[in-house]
Every structure is written in C-alpha cells, then in structure tokens.
Amino acid sequence: MPAPGVLVSDGQMPETPHAERLYLECQPRVVRYLTRLVGHADTARDLAQETFLHAARSPLPESEPGQRAWVFRIARNLGLNHLRDTAQHARMAPDLDGGTGPAQETTLLVREALAQLAPLDRDIFLLREAAGLSYAEIAEACAVTEDAVRSRLQRARQALRVLLHGTLATERARGVRFSGRNDE
C-alpha cells in the first residue's frame, strides 16, 4: 500500500511534490545505471518504473542527497535481483541492436569488461559513471564508507584501463572532453 499522501498514476509518475521532483531529477540516471547493470534498455526502463514505485511507497530520507541515494539503493537492489534471477539468460544473450559494427563491438567489449569486475566494484563504478552520483551518495546507496568508494572506484578504473586498452586508445586518439560531474 502506498504511504499516506503518496499516489501513483498509472504506474508512471509519483504524485507527491517530493516524489515527482525525485522522479524528474533521477529517472534518466536511474535508467542509464540500470541499463549498464542489466545490459538491456527495455528491462532497465521497467526496473526504473518499479524503483520509483518502491520509492513512492516508502518514507523518503529528508535530505536530497539522501533521497537520491535511497532511490539508487532501491534501483541497485532491483537490478541485482534481476541479474540473479536471469543470470544464465543474460550471459547467453548480449543485447545489441542493428547499429554500426564498431559501435556494437565497443558495446560488447565494455559489457564484457564490466562483467569481469568484482560485483561491488562494478556497481560503484556504474553509480559514478552511469548515474553520476557523488562519493557520499554512492557510499549511502551501497552501504559502504566513502573511503571504500574511492578505493573500489580506483580499482575498477585501473582494471578497465587494462581490459579496454585498445578501445581507450582509439577514444583518446579521437580526443577527450573533460566533464567534472558525469550527471548530464
């Protein structure tokens, strides 16, 4: 049952000011994070809807960073549950569309590289790079300390540097753009 004053219209957008603001602010990032986590855009959108339904039905933390971390904690749990339930299928069916060859290849390489990371390292990396959360928000979402976030993030980046060496060299040759917070 939804909490008092929290309604959900047609399973889409929560109808309280806080929940609506949170939805508008976080929904694209939640979908991005879940897409990376489960490797499937349609599934990610379904899980994102479920995430906000769960968030709307539970009392939110008071602070905005706390609310964002709470939403991503729900998203992470739902994503991990989905991965656990469909582990074999996910391994067998990489999700690639009919795009160009190099783009497909890069997507597959990134997916395979991410799959080789330790689960918590991968989650922290994705929460940073795909969702754009701060260290404090990631720590809250994953229930670890900020120091643990820093060290695991660095470990994930170092591993991906090795695993994606060729891809990163190509990307560097094209030119890189600096963006301080990856939350666009």
Partner: protein, 125 residues
C-alpha cells in the same frame, strides 16, 4: 594520496589539493591516467546497450502458399492410404469359360402343334 587518487578526485568533482594535483599532472603516468579516465567516461557514454532486439519474420507469400499446398497434398495422400488399408477385399468370381459349359435346363417346354390357331379371337376373362 596517490597520483590516481588525486586524478580520480579531480575528475569526480571532489575537492583536490592543488599542490597534489600539480604533482600528479606533472608526471606522465598521471597524465596518462587522466586521459584514460576521461576516455573511459566517454566510452561509457557512447556505448550504451540498445533496446531489445525485435526479431521479425520475413514475410514470403509464395513460401506460405507452397507450404499450405504441400500440407494439403500430404493430408489427401494420407487419407487415401488409410482408406485403402481399411477397405475389405472384394470377392472375385472367375468366369467359367471352359468348353464343357452348358446352358441351364428349361423348366417348362411348350411344343409347337401345327394347325392350332394361337391368335386370340375373343375377349379373355
């Protein structure tokens, strides 16, 4: 704090000690790490998994009609074969064509008597 820690904090929008950042960027390893982290971020943004692959069957009307015709023929053939198996064998009587065959004997013999008027002259009762 290592070079990588400093670069990570810098690219992740955290507060960084400028002296440490200066030292990190002064080393070739630090710069290489910075470029790789930015390239990795760029790669993550440009290589998102796509929507579900929607498998659509190619429509081929000719193949569909040919398949229907083959199925219909197979059904007709199977029905014919089943009918042949289930029908009782017909008894065949061979015609007797030997030379010794004779016509059956008459049951009544009327002899022709000359001079008798066989035509009817009065109304019969």
């Amino acid at each position: 704090m290592t070079i990588e820690n400093t670069i990570d904090a810098f690219v992740d929008g955290a507060i960084v000690d400028t002296t440490a950042l200066d030292a990190a960027l002064a080393s070739s390893d630090g710069r290489a790490y910075l470029f790789d982290v930015l390239a990795l971020r760029q790669t993550m943004q440009t290589s998102m998994p796509a929507a579900a692959v929607r498998v659509t069957r190619i429509r081929r009307p000719f193949l569909r009609y040919a398949s229907a015709a083959v199925v219909a023929l197979a059904l007709v053939g199977a029905g014919y074969a089943a009918g042949l198996r289930q029908a009782p064998a017909a008894e065949v009587t061979a015609a007797n064509t030997s030379d010794g065959a004779r016509p059956p004997e008459p049951t009544r013999v009327i002899e022709l008597t000359p001079g008798v008027n066989w035509h009817e002259s009065r109304g019969g009762d």
